[in-house]
């Protein structure tokens, strides 16, 4: 149903729409970082798309694809209340200095989502008025949803008391179960 959006996008942006797909009924279009904002604007304002409802914005760490130029995929989902269709726009960003235009001028709701995305992935949004951490604290170092951030690496703000219990015997390790159930090489630890 919402193929119309993908068609319109391809029509309008041509080669800047790198890829489209409709897996599981979700329509996805990957656009180049340069035309990210423009594409979003288009999806919102084009009368046949009319995606006035901001649904979601976040990122995926695709560190497994081996391409440092496309480590992060930032996506935004938009929905049209009137036409009842939705689309997912994606942009691929490099590992070094991932940066893309902010979508606040398009949907004001993108504000916090972009802050969260910055907080969790370190993706920066050009033109964001207030790009601070949102879920974590300023003192926190690193971006936890990146795959290379160890889940257990806490950065306490309050010094732990002396003589408190650690994990009790026989619960030796705090790390928890292995990341994956199949045999896989341990992460390079340097």
């Amino acid at each position: 149903m919402a193929r119309i959006i993908l068609d319109r996008l391809k029509e309008r942006f041509g080669a800047d729409v790198l890829e489209t797909s409709s897996q599981h009924g979700d329509d996805v279009a990957v656009v180049t970082p340069a035309r990210w904002r423009e594409a979003a604007e288009f999806v919102r304002t084009d009368p046949r798309c009319a995606c006035d409802y901001f649904v979601d914005l976040s990122a995926i760490d695709c560190c497994d694809n081996g391409d440092p130029e496309a480590r992060f995929e930032v996506y935004v989902i938009a929905y049209s209340v009137a036409r009842k269709h939705r689309v997912r726009l994606k942009v691929r960003l490099p590992e070094d200095n991932p940066e893309v235009d902010t979508l606040i001028p398009v949907w004001v709701g993108a504000n916090w989502m972009e802050r969260e995305c910055f907080d969790m992935f370190g993706v920066r949004f050009k033109g964001h008025p207030d790009l601070r951490r949102i879920l974590l604290y300023e003192e926190f170092k690193g971006h936890p949803l990146r795959k290379d951030y160890p889940a257990q690496q806490a950065q306490p703000l309050v010094a732990y008391r002396e003589g408190t219990y650690d994990k009790l015997r026989p619960f030796l390790a705090d790390e928890g179960m292995p990341l994956d159930r199949t045999f896989k090489a341990a992460q390079d630890p340097d």
């Binding site: 219990y165 009790l168 026989p170």
Partner: protein, 208 residues
Amino acid sequence: MTARTKVMKKPLRTLGDQSYLVELVKGLGLTLKHFFKGTQQMVANSYANPAEDPFAEGIATLEYPEVKRAYPERWRGVHRLTHREDGSPRCVACLCCSTACPAQCIYIKPAEYPAGDKRRGYERFPEEFVIDELRCIFCGYCVEACPCDAIRMDTGMHMTALDNRASFIFDKEKLMSIPSQHGEFKSENPRHEPGDPSHPGIDRLRGH
């Protein structure tokens, strides 16, 4: 299909509403009704026991330490380890429960039966089976993951509050000493073990 949307109109404010008093009186009437009902029940000591009739009007308090509610059959309480016929743990230390546990509150150290035991070579057993009941989130995944019906949460007991983190560490003996809600220790796993009398046994010469 009836109307798809229903606009919630704001109620028109009558003079009575605006003057506060009418609604105050009505509200007082309602709360007084509850008050008198409650007071009457308290004085007459005639309020319903919520463990028996949860929907009763009036005082709905379960006076906990004196009055207890039997927990539903499915309710997930403190763990227990089921027994075999001979009283040894049903568990074979397969570590499925500790794998499935999202909180990793189960520690099992598997071991082989010592030399001379009839199950040596066939089975293993948990040398240590420890659950940190404080860390447990009572999701029931361990019960679901157990392929032997060895661990269960049908004890009908909630884990009580304690003041020492070490007291929450339940070891094998403690877990095995807790019966089910109906006082049972047995497992429903019908497996014949090589050492059991019910096992057909093996005899290379006799064949099968």
